[in-house]
Symmetry: C2
Subunit: 379 residues, 2 copies
């Protein structure tokens, strides 16, 4: 590069830096304004996530972008990122308390990661939260006495037993709820142990989400739903979406979604380890798509093995799902061994057909994801 | 909501809309400034992706964000998104032509997706590009006569044969290069068929990337590297990173990365299809992590089965890799059948240990990805 070029570039870069500093000031202003919206909503008890307002606002900005010859996706992506930041900050303001005369909420397993998250959210919403963990059973009965709700969030493999043996003497009006990732058995156990209101919840997110905005919580109704309606309202105020489901239907879906997928990811990691794959080397060669997949595998192994053992070993049905999977794997492998390219293509096309409109939808979704993975790359 | 609340919210939303419109104006200004940088770089032949300048600029903005009580990740994410947009726009300006006295570039397979992408990039850089496709072999010899480079990008299963039978009479000085996703055999075939300069390339990205910025191209040297140095320079000017590798090492990594991963994804889709999974239902229950995984599976089936058959059937080594994988799957399944939770946890911990520092790194990377997947969600 000659001196003139260097000078021109430096000059332009100073101007860009100036624009970026103005961006920061606008961000500060926007975050403050949305915080004020949050405060108004907080006072009125309105949910923080307003999909319709969001959609209308994005549509207007997209149109304005087009008029200015800016890609509409650019402004949408940036505004979504800003909204995420505002959702994260909502927690600082606290949330409206929907039920003000509940009494205490006792969280059984309150020291677990999900327990801590719910303790935080409930406390931010003005509830009195007490915690019972493994070694606290002696003090538990005195806590239960004043409990308006008991929320169970302990490892799956002990959930039903704890419900049956420790939670069978709750006050009649107390709500009994759980956060276990399977629902049929815990719900049954709760209905047997307790004669009052019962509800099963499954938060469909990890405890490392910064905010509940747009996250999903599955609800399986147990008994006396009018008594815990406020709880669902409260969760909506946190920004989450409530999806109602029958426990059995939920559990069947989870066999495909959780147990099988986790198991398959586990085997993939195990395989890399046994092949003594050179991760540095793999990453060097990696396309964004593989980097993403590798990250999803590595993610599993950064977490508590007990958690995954619990999920995988909890459901008998998942053993069948996993066995079916291996049968399909074997039969696909035999195509490969026979070198039967044509049969592979036929099976592929069958599956494509079955995916139907979902396949192109997934392709465009994943393209957006891969682009954002590529954005994160640096030398 | 009462009237006062509605009024307050409307007022605040108007102010937010105003901020967002100012954002759009800053975006327009920034895109224009970066386009000017691009024009200066274009004239000087400097690569568009400048990692050091990028890192220094981001570090400054992050610090300024912290001083303004804004999350540094917020400004980094937004600036990365803006940079992506600018990279996309670079193509409109064109790129500096590194080698001005090359003669024609003939792309064998120029109608394929990757062939089209390279035709576009080379044309934007001022090269004369001619295309040979399946039915053009009659005219090929006349095109080859004036060729400074022949670039092969056709299905893997015919690559070596076409090289041997059709590309064995190129002018001595002509560069012979290929873009196949395996490298050892095509490279050998090229070295045998042609006595002049030979190089193998593997672009580590799909043809649907909008820009080559930050993408990786693997280079396996063949013969007379000083004769095709300009090509690697040219690719760098497009923004990509060149990673040099031995063909065999590359192919071994690809067995783990591509063949096995694609096969495993194929089986996962096949399995969903055979179980007649209710995709609507699965999506309703889906956490961001599963939505992402499902999207990665669906993505495969939106594409050409021949492409995947080519990749999976091309390498004999991948059959071994896939067989090893199924052995690991079987042995993990037997733990499950025996209900041996302890052994599962031990294996899990071994793999975690093997992942080492990569596990937490992948966890934080994937957290960022999952958050951006969640940002995209809407009702």
């Amino acid at each position: 590069m000659n001196e003139k070029t260097t000078g021109e570039l430096e000059n332009l870069r100073d101007l860009i830096d100036g624009v970026d500093q103005q961006l920061l000031h606008l961000f500060r202003k926007r975050l403050d304004l949305v915080a004020q919206v949050g405060a108004v909503k907080h006072a009125a008890g309105v949910p923080i996530y307003a999909p319709q307002r969001e959609a209308a606002m994005l549509a207007k900005r997209r149109q304005e972008a087009v008029n200015m010859n800016i890609s509409p996706q650019l402004i949408e992506d940036v505004l979504r990122r800003l909204m995420r930041e505002s959702y994260l900050n909502e927690k600082d303001v606290g949330f409206k308390q929907v039920k003000t005369d509940l009494g205490d909420i006792v969280i059984v397993g309150g020291q677990g990661q999900l327990g801590q998250l719910f303790t935080q959210m409930l406390t931010l919403s003005g509830y009195q939260v007490k915690i019972v963990d493994k070694d606290d059973w002696q003090i538990a009965p005195s806590l239960f006495k004043n409990a308006g709700m008991v929320l169970v969030t302990i490892p799956i493999n002990v959930t039903c037993e704890v419900i049956r043996t420790q939670l069978n003497q709750l006050p009649q009006t107390c709500i009994l709820a759980d956060l276990t990732s399977i629902k049929e058995k815990p719900l049954l156990a709760m209905l047997e142990a307790h004669k009052g209101p019962v509800v099963g919840l499954h938060p469909m997110f990890g405890p490392d989400v910064g905010s509940l905005a747009k996250q999903v919580v599955v609800v399986c109704h147990g008994r006396d739903s009018h008594r815990y309606e406020w709880l669902l309202e409260q969760i909506k105020i946190w920004g989450a979406r409530i999806v109602e489901a029958k426990a059995q239907k939920h559990d069947n879906a989870m066999q495909l979604v959780q147990a099988m997928r986790h198991f398959s990811t586990f085997v993939y990691g195990l395989n890399l380890c046994k092949e003594q794959a050179d991760l540095d080397n793999l990453l060097q060669f990696s396309s964004p798509i593989y980097r993403l997949e590798l990250a999803m595998v590595g993610r599993l192994f950064a977490q508590d093995p007990n958690l995954y053992a619990d999920i995988i070993f909890a459901q008998e049905g998942s053993l069948n799902a996993i066995s079916d999977y291996i049968d399909n794997y074997q039969s696909a492998l035999s195509l490969l061994k026979a070198g039967d390219r044509q049969a592979f293509i036929e099976q592929f096309s069958q599956v494509s057909e079955w995916f139907g409109d979902f396949a192109p939808q997934f392709q465009s979704e994943s393209r957006a994801m891969l682009q954002s993975v590529n954005d994160m790359k640096h030398d």
